[in-house]
C-alpha cells in the first residue's frame, strides 16, 4: 500500500490540499481529511464510468475507436455555423486553453458554467470592482464572518474549519475570538452554529443590503423593519461591521440567483467598499465547482473576458445576455455543441435543455450524465486530480496543481489530450 500526502481535492471550490490517500493496486482504498463530499468523490469516482468512445448511429450508440470519435467530432464542429463550446468548471486550465483555441479556430462561442451560477457576481465586479482577499487573510485576521445566502456546511463543508470561523490563524486563534453571522431565508445548518442569525424575507436581499449600507454610513432608517428584519437588528449588525477589526462577507447563490441578481452583488460590494472607510472588510463569492475560478481566469487572460466569449467575428466579443449559452440556445441559434466536463441538460432551464438536445452534441466526460445520453458523440476522459495532473484555482484565486494518484482505465486519456487531438485535426495538421 502506498500513501500520498497533500493531495488536492477536486470537488468543490475549497480545493482542500491536505488530503491523504492510500492506494493499493491502483485503487484508492482509504482517504483522510476529506469531508463527506470529497470522500465520496475519491471513493466513488470510478462508478458509472464510460469506458469506450461512442457515436450515435441511427438511434443506437455504437462503440468506436478514439480516432473515429475524434473524426466525427471534427466533422460536426467544422460543419457547424455557430457552435457552442461549454463546460470547463470541472477540468483543468490546460484543457480549457485548448478549448479556447478550438472555439477561436471554428468561430464558435466559448462559455463556462459561470454563465448559470456566479455570472451576476462577475458583472457586479465589472461594474464597481470589489475588496477581496485570499482565504488565509480571513483565517489569520477576521473577527467578523458573515455568510449571506450560502450554507457552507452543506455545499463547502470544510470552508469554516480550514478558512474561517473554526480555523486557527496567526492573529485570531479560536472560534471565541470571532463573531459569525448568517443571513438567509431559512435557518440552515450553518445558521445553527452562528452567533447571529438574520432571517430575511425571500427576494429582498437588495433592500437589506441597501439599508445596512445606509446604517453603516450613519443614516437613520425611518421604517420599523426592512426585508422582514427589525431595524434594531440592522443597526446592530451595522455596528458589528463598523467596529470589527477585519470583516469578511461571503455570499452564495442565494444572493446571485434571487431577483436583482447583479444588482444584489453590486449592493453587497458597495457595502463592503464603504466599510473600508472605517475598518478592513472583504467580500468573497462561494464558488461551487472546483475549477470554475480557473475557467474565468484562463478565459480572461486569453480573450479579455471571463466567460461567454463569441469568436464568430474573428475576435473575442462579450455581451452577457447575448453571448451566454443559455440565451444562444433559447434563441435557437447554435447548430452544434462541444460539452466538456459538464451536464447542461440537467442544469439548464427545461426549455433550453430540450432545444439543446435537438442539435448534434459532442460530450467529453468521465462518466454518464443526462447530457451524454442525448449526445451524438461521447468521448470518455480521465479525472483531473485523480487520474491526471492539471492546474485549478481555488474560489479565492489561489492556483494549485492537482496530482495524478492512480492510472486511468485502459485507453482513457485526459480532456486536454482529447482536445489537442481535436484541435490538431481541425487545423489539418
Amino acid at each position: 500500500m502506498k500513501t500520498i500526502n497533500n493531495v488536492v481535492c477536486s470537488f468543490c471550490g475549497c480545493l482542500c490540499d491536505d488530503i491523504e490517500v492510500n492506494i493499493e493496486n491502483n485503487k484508492i482504498v482509504n482517504v483522510k481529511n476529506a469531508c463527506s463530499l470529497g470522500l465520496s468523490k475519491f471513493l466513488n469516482y470510478n462508478k458509472h464510468r464510460i469506458l469506450k468512445p461512442r457515436i450515435r448511429k441511427s438511434k443506437e450508440f455504437v462503440n468506436v475507436s478514439l480516432e473515429e470519435a475524434i473524426n466525427e467530432c471534427v466533422k460536426i464542429l467544422s460543419n457547424a455555423n455557430y457552435p457552442i463550446i461549454y463546460g470547463w468548471s470541472n477540468t483543468s486550465n490546460e484543457a480549457l486553453r485548448v478549448g479556447i483555441e478550438i472555439a477561436e479556430l471554428i468561430g464558435g462561442v466559448i462559455d463556462n458554467t459561470t454563465s448559470v451560477c456566479h455570472g451576476p457576481t462577475i458583472i457586479g465586479v465589472q461594474d464597481i470592482g470589489e475588496s477581496t482577499s485570499t482565504l488565509g487573510q480571513i483565517k489569520n485576521r477576521a473577527d467578523l464572518i458573515i455568510y449571506w445566502g450560502s450554507n457552507p456546511l452543506h455545499a463547502h463543508p470544510r470552508h469554516l474549519s480550514r478558512y474561517t470561523a473554526l480555523s486557527k490563524g496567526r492573529f485570531i486563534k479560536t472560534r471565541k475570538e470571532r463573531k459569525v453571522v448568517v443571513v438567509d431565508v431559512r435557518k440552515t445548518a450553518t445558521a445553527n452554529i452562528a452567533d447571529v442569525f438574520i432571517q430575511i424575507k425571500p427576494n429582498s436581499d437588495y433592500e437589506l443590503l441597501t439599508a445596512l449600507r445606509y446604517a453603516v454610513n450613519n443614516g437613520e432608517i425611518e421604517q420599523d423593519e426592512v426585508a422582514g428584519v427589525p431595524v434594531e437588528k440592522i443597526e446592530e449588525l451595522a455596528e458589528m461591521m463598523v467596529s470589527c477589526k477585519f470583516g469578511a462577507l461571503m455570499f452564495g447563490l442565494g444572493l446571485t440567483m434571487s431577483p436583482g441578481k447583479h444588482r444584489n452583488i453590486e449592493a453587497a460590494i458597495a457595502l463592503v467598499t464603504d466599510l473600508n472607510k472605517y475598518t478592513k472588510f472583504v467580500i468573497l463569492p462561494m464558488r461551487g465547482h472546483y475549477n470554475v475560478t480557473g475557467a474565468n481566469n484562463v478565459t480572461c487572460w486569453i480573450t479579455g473576458y471571463p466567460f461567454a466569449v463569441d469568436f464568430s467575428k474573428g475576435y473575442p466579443y462579450y455581451n452577457p445576455g447575448e453571448t451566454t449559452i443559455a440565451d444562444i440556445i433559447a434563441r435557437g441559434e447554435c447548430d452544434a455543441a462541444l460539452i466538456v466536463a459538464s451536464d447542461p441538460i440537467s442544469h439548464l432551464p427545461i426549455e433550453s435543455a430540450r432545444k439543446l438536445s435537438k442539435i448534434p452534441i459532442v460530450t467529453i466526460d468521465p462518466h454518464e450524465t443526462p447530457t451524454t445520453r442525448v449526445s451524438r458523440v461521447v468521448i470518455p476522459s480521465s479525472y483531473v486530480g485523480i487520474e491526471c495532473e492539471g492546474t485549478a484555482y481555488r474560489m479565492d484565486g489561489v492556483p494549485l496543481r492537482l496530482k495524478k494518484i492512480v492510472d486511468p482505465p485502459d485507453g482513457i486519456i485526459s480532456d486536454e489530450e482529447i482536445l489537442k487531438m481535436i484541435l490538431s485535426k481541425l487545423k489539418g495538421d
Binding site: D18, V125, T132, T134, R141, F246, N276, Y305, Y315, L400
Partner: protein
C-alpha cells in the same frame, strides 16, 4: 536559420558601438562572427540596428493583471485584434490579453519583458499567463518584503536563514528577483492602515521599512542575485514623497562598495514635492542631484502618458487613496502572509494640474540624470501609461520640440511651475539604446541580452530611420513612427516581425534564478519554517512550489550564492 543583417547603422552601447555601419551575423539563435552557406540577407542600409528591447518593469501577467482585465470590459471593446493565419486573436488597450501583449511588444522590437510584481502564493498563475504570452522572453519579480516569514526573520536579524528561505522561495516559485512594495505599509494594510515614514514601526513585527529595505539589500548580495533589489517606495503617490524616496535611497548607502545595489522603480510616482495636491510640484532636481552623486542606484521612470491607464500595484493602501480621490471602480485583493494588490482605472489629462506636473516629473528626471545607464524608460505599464506608448517617450526624450508640443496644451499653472521648458537636453540614438535595452539588460543581469556581441542571443530590432540624415529634434514624428513598428524584429535568430507585422508566432523562455544554497542551511531553515508556514498559509508548503515542467520554456539561471 542563418541571417546576415547588412549595412545597418549599429547601436550597441554595451560594446561601445555608436552608429557604425556593420554587418551582424546570426546562426543558431546567437550572434556569431561570420556565416557562410545559405543565408537570409536583410538589407538594413539606412536603417538602425539595435539589440532587441528589454523592459525591466511592466505588468503583463498574473492575478492582479488579470483582475484588471476582468474589471474593464469597456477597455477592450474599442481595441480588438482579429485572428489571422499566424496570430491568435485578442483584445488590447490598457490591459491587453496575453497574446496581444506579446505581439505588440514584438512589433516595437522588444524581445524581453520582466513582469514587475508577483506574490509567491499566486505565482503559478503568473507563469500560466507568461506561458500564453508569445514572442518575448520573460520572467517575474517576486514580492517578498511583506512576507511574514521574511519579516519574522528580519526582525530577529537572522539574515542567513532569511536568505536561505528567500532562495528557497525563488527556486520554488521560479522567480527572478526580490521585489519590495511599500515595505511594512502593505502588511499594515491588512488592517486597513499604512506607514508614513521609513522609520515607522510595523507591529507586531517590531521592524521598520528602513530595516526591511536594508535587510533585503544585504540578502540580495548574500544570494548573489543577478538583479538588485527592486524597490517601490513607501508613500507612493503622496505629495512630499520625494523625501521618502531620497531617505530610502540613502538608507542603503553604506552597503555599496561602489557597485549598484538598488533599483528604484517608477520614480515619477515618488517624485512629488509640496504639501498637498494643490501645492504639488516636482522633486526632480533633488532626486537627480542625489542620483548623479550616488552611483549605487538605478531608476526607471514610470513616465505619465496622457490618456487611459489602469493603475495596478501591490501597494493596496496607495490604490485605496487613488480610489478615494477618483471614485473610479476599485479592486483590492490581499494575499495571505505576503502582500496585497489594488486596481483603479485612471485617465491622465493634460488640463489637470496634478497630471501635468506628474508628466513633467518623469521627463525632468530623465533629462537631469546625466548617466543614461542608471535611468530607464518605462511607463510602469499600465499604471502611468501603456507600453505601446514607448515610441512617444522616445520622441519626448530626443526632441525638445516634441515636449513643447505637449507643453502648449497642458495646464497653465502647472507649466508655470515646471523646469521642463528650460531643459535643452535631447537624447541621442545611442542613449535611447541604453535606456531601452542595454542598460535594462545590464541592470537585470541578463548577460546575453541587450547587446550584439559574439555569443549574445540573436534578439535584434531594426528600425527604418536613417540616423545620419534625420534630425530627431525636428523630425521627431519620423522617429516615433519608426519605433512604433520595427522594420524587423529578430528573436532567437528568427525573423518574427516584418514591417511591424507578426511574421511568425514563437514562444520565448521564462528566466528564473536557481540559487544554490548550502544543503544543511536549507534543510534546517525549511524544517524550522514548516510549522509556521502551515499556520500562516492555507496551502501546504509542498503545493506552494511550482514544478519546472509547469513552465513552457524554463530557463533557470544557475546562481552560486555567497552563503
Amino acid at each position: 536559420m542563418k541571417i546576415l543583417i547588412k549595412n545597418g547603422y549599429v547601436y550597441d552601447p554595451l560594446n561601445k558601438i555608436d552608429g557604425e555601419i556593420m554587418d551582424i551575423a546570426i546562426e543558431n539563435g546567437k550572434i556569431v562572427e561570420s556565416i557562410s552557406g545559405e543565408v537570409i540577407e536583410i538589407d538594413a542600409k539606412n536603417m538602425i540596428v539595435m539589440p532587441g528591447g528589454v523592459d525591466l518593469h511592466s505588468h503583463i501577467a498574473g492575478s492582479k493583471v488579470n483582475s484588471g482585465r476582468l474589471l474593464r470590459p469597456e477597455d477592450h471593446y474599442k481595441d480588438i485584434e482579429k485572428k489571422t493565419n499566424i496570430r491568435r486573436s485578442g483584445v488590447g488597450h490598457t490591459i491587453p490579453s496575453t497574446y496581444t501583449t506579446g505581439y505588440r511588444y514584438s512589433e516595437m522590437g522588444y524581445t524581453t519583458v520582466m513582469e514587475a510584481a508577483t506574490p509567491p502564493l499566486k505565482t503559478r498563475h503568473t507563469h500560466e499567463e507568461l506561458n500564453d504570452i508569445p514572442m518575448i522572453d520573460k520572467g517575474c519579480l517576486t514580492v517578498l518584503d511583506n512576507n511574514w516569514i521574511v519579516l519574522d526573520y528580519l526582525s530577529k536579524n537572522e539574515l542567513e536563514k532569511c536568505a536561505a528561505y528567500i532562495g528557497w522561495i525563488l527556486n520554488a516559485v521560479k522567480g527572478y528577483g526580490i521585489k519590495i512594495v511599500n515595505p511594512g505599509g502593505v502588511e499594515l494594510w491588512g488592517w486597513g492602515k499604512n506607514v508614513k515614514t521609513i522609520d515607522d514601526q510595523v507591529p507586531p513585527f517590531n521592524i521598520t521599512p528602513r530595516e526591511i529595505i536594508r535587510g533585503l539589500c544585504k540578502i540580495n548580495k548574500m544570494l548573489n542575485l543577478p538583479h538588485t533589489i527592486h524597490l517601490h517606495t513607501n508613500n507612493l503617490g503622496t505629495p512630499g514623497n520625494y523625501r521618502t524616496l531620497i531617505e530610502s535611497m540613502k538608507c542603503v548607502s553604506d552597503l555599496s562598495n561602489g557597485s549598484i545595489i538598488l533599483h528604484v522603480t517608477h520614480v515619477q510616482f515618488c517624485g512629488y514635492k509640496g504639501y498637498s495636491w494643490i501645492t504639488l510640484s516636482s522633486g526632480a532636481e533633488e532626486i537627480a542631484k542625489f542620483v548623479n552623486e550616488n552611483k549605487y542606484v538605478t531608476l526607471d521612470l514610470g513616465q505619465i502618458v496622457f490618456g487611459d491607464a489602469t493603475t495596478m500595484t501591490a501597494d493596496g493602501p496607495f490604490q485605496y487613496i487613488l480610489y478615494s480621490l477618483s471614485k473610479n471602480k476599485w479592486i483590492n485583493s490581499d494575499v495571505e502572509a505576503e502582500t496585497s494588490a489594488g486596481i483603479v482605472p485612471y485617465r491622465f489629462k493634460k488640463k489637470n494640474y496634478v497630471n501635468a506636473i506628474q508628466w513633467s516629473i518623469g521627463l525632468e528626471i530623465a533629462l537631469l540624470i546625466k548617466d543614461p545607464w542608471r535611468v530607464f524608460l518605462t511607463t510602469d505599464h499600465p499604471n502611468a501609461g501603456l507600453f505601446t506608448s514607448y515610441p512617444k517617450l522616445i520622441a519626448w526624450l530626443m526632441s525638445k520640440k516634441a515636449r513643447e508640443k505637449i507643453l502648449e496644451k497642458v495646464n497653465k499653472r502647472a507649466k508655470s511651475k515646471m523646469i521642463l521648458p528650460s531643459l535643452e537636453r535631447e537624447y541621442t540614438f545611442y542613449e535611447i539604446a541604453i535606456v531601452t535595452r542595454a542598460g535594462t539588460a545590464r541592470a537585470l543581469g541578463l548577460k546575453n541580452k541587450g547587446h550584439l556581441g559574439i555569443g549574445a542571443d540573436a534578439d535584434v530590432a531594426i528600425y527604418d530611420v536613417n540616423p545620419k540624415e534625420i534630425n530627431p529634434s525636428k523630425e521627431y514624428k519620423k522617429v516615433r513612427k519608426a519605433f512604433r513598428k520595427a522594420a524587423y524584429t529578430i528573436k532567437d535568430g528568427k525573423i518574427v516581425c516584418k514591417n511591424g507585422e507578426i511574421a511568425e508566432n514563437i514562444f520565448g523562455k521564462t528566466y528564473w534564478v536557481n540559487v544554490d544554497i548550502p544543503k544543511d542551511l536549507l534543510v534546517s531553515t525549511i524544517s524550522e519554517v514548516k510549522g509556521k508556514f502551515e499556520e500562516y498559509y492555507t496551502v501546504k508548503m509542498e503545493n506552494y512550489a511550482i514544478h519546472e515542467n509547469e513552465l513552457l520554456k524554463s530557463a533557470p539561471l544557475k546562481i552560486n550564492s555567497n552563503l
